[in-house]
Amino acid sequence: MSDLLPADLEAIRNAEPGQEAIDAAWHRVQLARHPQRPRTLDLAARMFEGFVELHGDRSFREDPAIVGGPALLDGRPVMVIGHQKGIDTESNIFRNFGSPHPEGFRKAQRLMRLAEKLAMPVITFLDTAGAFPGPAAEERGQAEAIATSIKLMTGLQVPIVVVIVGEGGSGGALAIGVGDVVLALENAVYSVISPEGCASILWRDPEKAPIAAAAMRMTAADQLALGVIDGIIEEPSDGAQADPAAAARAIKSAVLEALSGIGQVTPEALLTSRYARLRSIGLVIEAPGEQAPPLQPVTLRRRIGRVLRLPGVPRPPRWSEIWPSTDDEANEGDE
């Protein structure tokens, strides 16, 4: 599509977000990825009582990149599920850097179904760079695992509160991130693709990741403005990594408030409002328009004429003539 590039590339560069905005966005990305940031197991210990971690997807294996189990939140049973990154090289290798395989999502599905059975609200913590893209994950149906997880959450008959704690990376985050209330820590980020991935596709240069981060508006404040999340949880002044205990307290009170906001509702009402929330996300410009093939009454003369290709009997235009194919490579490799 280079033929359509505007002549004045300089003008386009100027239209990009200013350096200040780029630096600010990139700073948030760095904070969201901070190795000392509180992780799910950390939060499970600080926010809840009696957390019991459950293991395995009952199908293939245990995936330590997603952890979860039942716990008590102020005495009330809830199901806690979240991504789990490591804190050093060794634990990160064990946890696969918080990038789940299909088994992780299937374990999450299993825990959610258990929560539904026992009428426990589900609380999830999002902190992943994304679902793992390796060959083994593909073989075992990474896309199917994510899709099934999302579908399960859209129809789960118990309240779901989602907290984006660190990186909310693409489908791997959304797979446990569909909820009635979605909150984010102040320095958390949420994106459709990693800024590095976006930069290498659209700018053909991973070094442009800070620009991509600003362009994608990944910060919690931007996500709130876009209507993707419902609230921001303030962090201690130096960030959650500086005072995990205070961060856990803030998350706990925000989650309790979200649950009390959902209050006493029937499963039907809960699912209706969750559906409406999802259906309303995105910007769609609606103009009237309906297209039908131009029809002519099929008479016997026409039918015979069409077969014999008689003059004066035009064939109705076919859709392939309205939307034909053009043979050129149009590789707009997106996420």
């Binding site: 599509m1 359509l4 590039l5 239209a15 679902a131 793992f132 893209p133 390796g134 060959p135 994950a137 593909e138 073989e139 149906g141 896309a143 199917e144 994510i146 899709a147 999302i150 579908k151 859209t154 129809g155 693409s170 959304l174 797979a175 949420y190 994106s191 459709v192 693709i193 991935g197 596709i201 362009a215 994608m216 508006r217 990944m218 876009l226 993707v228 559906y275 999802l278 996300i281 995105g282 769609v284 410009i285 103009a287 009237p288 309906e290 297209q291 039908a292 109705p316 076919r318 859709w319 392939s320 939307w323 034909p324 194919s325 043979d327 149009a330 707009e332 490799g333 997106d334 996420e335």
Partner: protein
Amino acid sequence: MRIKFPLRRRDAPADAWTKCPSCDSQIFSKQLERNLRVCPTCGHHFRMSIGERIDLLLDEGSFVERDAGLTSGDPLAFHDQKPYPDRLEAATLKTGLREAAVWGTGRIEGYPVAIGLFDFRFMGGSMGSVVGEKVARCFETALTERIPALIVAASGGARMQEGTLSLLQLAKTTAPLARMDMAGVPFISLLTDPTTGGVLASFASLGDVIVAEPRALIGFAGARVASGTVGEELPEGFQTSEFLLEHGFVDLVVARSDLRAELAALLRVLQPAPMDVDWAQGDQRGWGPIGVLSGFAERLGGAVSETIGIDVKPEDEGGSNGNGPTRDRTHRAESERP
């Protein structure tokens, strides 16, 4: 001074021939079109436009496009090398489409479907707010009209230019599927080259039946990403339709020439569940072969011998394949009783 030729020049012959990327043979473009854009030498399936798909799959004159007026905004004011609205405009100029997906209703061999189709040439078939909306409305219409849904996917994934709004389309397009499960309305997913990323990680993987075209690229992450991340050798045929069939994620791999017949065969046996089933009363709607036959016999009276045959015509005997709930059959039985 240039002399203008009085007659319109013929199109340049540059596009008269197409090179097959698979076997390198030169194919006469007209022949390629006649052959449903399948290479006559090696069977390579070229990508198709939405128009060609409609002509291939649906009965002539049956397709009615819905929501043709939906267009994308620029919610993030997104700039990369050029602004997002410019990219949309360029894609529209190239394809004649307003967005990467079109949806509507039509018929396949007489069976009504709500159908959504993707065009990969429009920004890589990527799913932004409008594409997600169209897919969701396609499912919702299938749900309210109680007709099967069919999506012909060809997409690189979620559209980066709309950020997390695109990501959330994964949930928006998947949510109606949970409702269709409850309501008993089937969804057939047809995967064509290429179907990757967010589209595969949402509705496309959730078909009650998943059909794929031969040797289509189907995968979650790009093969380059997969091998780059792990530094592993990729298995033979990685991320192809056949690979997915082998690993149990696709029901059928169907050549393009058989696609329409195969879909019709599926639609014949996968009709929405009747709304007035009373499982307790075996004689109302029997379960098992004998029950079904006797159930039909009661409803149809004299018309039995004509109706319960192997080659039931869908248009004439909509009731006998479960198309349009039991009510249809009763009507027919009554009207045939003079």
